[in-house]
Symmetry: C2
Subunit: 233 residues, 2 copies
DNA sequence: CGTCAGCTTGATTACTTTCAATTGTTGTGG
DNA sequence: CCACAACAATTGAAAGTAATCAAGCTGACG
């Protein structure tokens, strides 16, 4: 059941919170990890499902989203290699509160509920990491709240682009955003419609802030973009 | 420096996360707590300030808010007796991320940073509680996000009323909401303007869902109100 | 009884969404 | 290689929602 694409936990260097565990603990972590390849577009778990464990991203990109009114999707967070997913539901012993979907072909390990919770139980360092993580996510969520409720569509789109860049960075050319999303998905981050997203991107394109190349977005001057996030005409 | 209005931590029964600590720990917690009366409207700490410790509400009501664009306030959470405030900033070693203001005369204890963190360090139970708390807050924040971005002003107002009722309940008559806010503050929860809030309250009043009595809001049929939160015409 | 702050109401304006129609892209099978 | 289907992107127009602006109004309080 071993997967050639993924090293054992004892040799994994994805900088996850598990990397600092003792060798023994990592050994335990690594046994019987099951399937762990997810094709682009494939769902890792659904909002409302019972928890089975936490997922740890080895490679690829993942979106976490919730369904709102009339099934409208709101993307709440992204995950990249080294991030763990689904831990919040597990910690408060609830169903998963969001749906996780692979945005690209991804290798993702699953650590069972029991294993994770027992590790947490006798490992101060791990629980400290978890606390840090939760704090960070909470901060992000609250900031996101302010941003989405008080800013205009244009500002929110800029905000979303900056979020994506901060999470995934640029491609090898150092200016093409490393994640290419559909207009609809971008709209689902900014909390707007795809049409508004298209119009706003067109404006930003015309203003020279970004350059649209098919689905890809090229940013020549990241600082300029970030400045737009703060103050807007 | 003892305050007659507040019992020692060893005898406090506000159901905070500290109540389950050992007697010894509570003893430590209780030494030198300083000023702890906050008048209505008084600020407990400001967004951006250095952390000095966590606050534990003994009695009263507190709002936590952040400043958005143009200094517009967004209320992010309420705290009631037994709740602790300001812990998130402390855990991630950042300035306070929100401003805490007493909504009524309140008695609030302060536990210093050092004391709190050292307690956390050698107390698994406490760190588990903290994890639970963070998880709960994170869930709330993410739900709030969806609600504020996808719902209409009317739905958001209803949502806000339900939040207040769930947090503080009703007065002795069992139908008057226990917290009376200004229209502006209510608007700041729902993320809208005071005018829209007024108009919406007037509509709900006319529809018989609520009854406006000065600043007080009377709810005869809480279930009806809650139903409006879910599906709306 | 005047003042001030908060509340209320109506009118106007700005911004977004929604709807509808068109164009562009991609993958598939003949 | 082309035609076609399916889906995504784009554009324009119309409709809707809520914010803003501009007055009055009200009630508490010195």
């Amino acid at each position: 059941m071993t997967n050639h694409k993924i090293p054992a936990c004892t040799h994994c260097d994805n900088k996850s919170i598990f990397c600092n565990l003792s060798e023994d603990n990592k050994e335990v972590l690594g046994t019987g990890k099951g399937h762990n390849f997810f094709k682009k577009g494939q769902t890792i778990f659904y909002e409302g499902n019972h928890t089975i464990g936490v997922f740890c991203v080895y490679s690829g990109k993942v979106k976490l989203s919730k369904l709102g009114k009339d099934g409208k999707e709101q993307i709440v967070r992204f995950s990249k290699p080294g991030d763990i997913i689904g831990y919040r539901a597990l910690l408060s012993n609830e169903p998963y509160q969001a749906t996780a979907i692979a945005l690209e072909d991804s290798y993702i390990c699953m650590i069972s509920k029991e294993k994770f919770l027992s590790l947490l139980d006798d490992n101060t360092k791990l629980s400290t990491s978890i606390i840090q993580l939760l704090s960070k996510d909470l901060k992000g969520a609250e900031q996101n709240l302010i941003d989405l409720t008080q800013k205009s569509v244009k500002e929110r789109i800029v905000e979303s682009l900056v979020l994506i860049i901060n999470t995934f960075g640029f491609k090898a050319d150092n200016k093409t955003i490393a994640l290419s999303l559909s207009r609809q998905e971008l709209a689902n981050i900014a909390g707007t419609s795809s049409e508004s997203t298209i119009r706003t991107l067109a404006t930003l394109n015309k203003e020279g802030v970004i350059k649209l190349v098919g689905r890809n977005i090229v940013v020549h001057d990241f600082d300029h973009l970030k400045k737009l996030m703060l103050i807007f005409d």
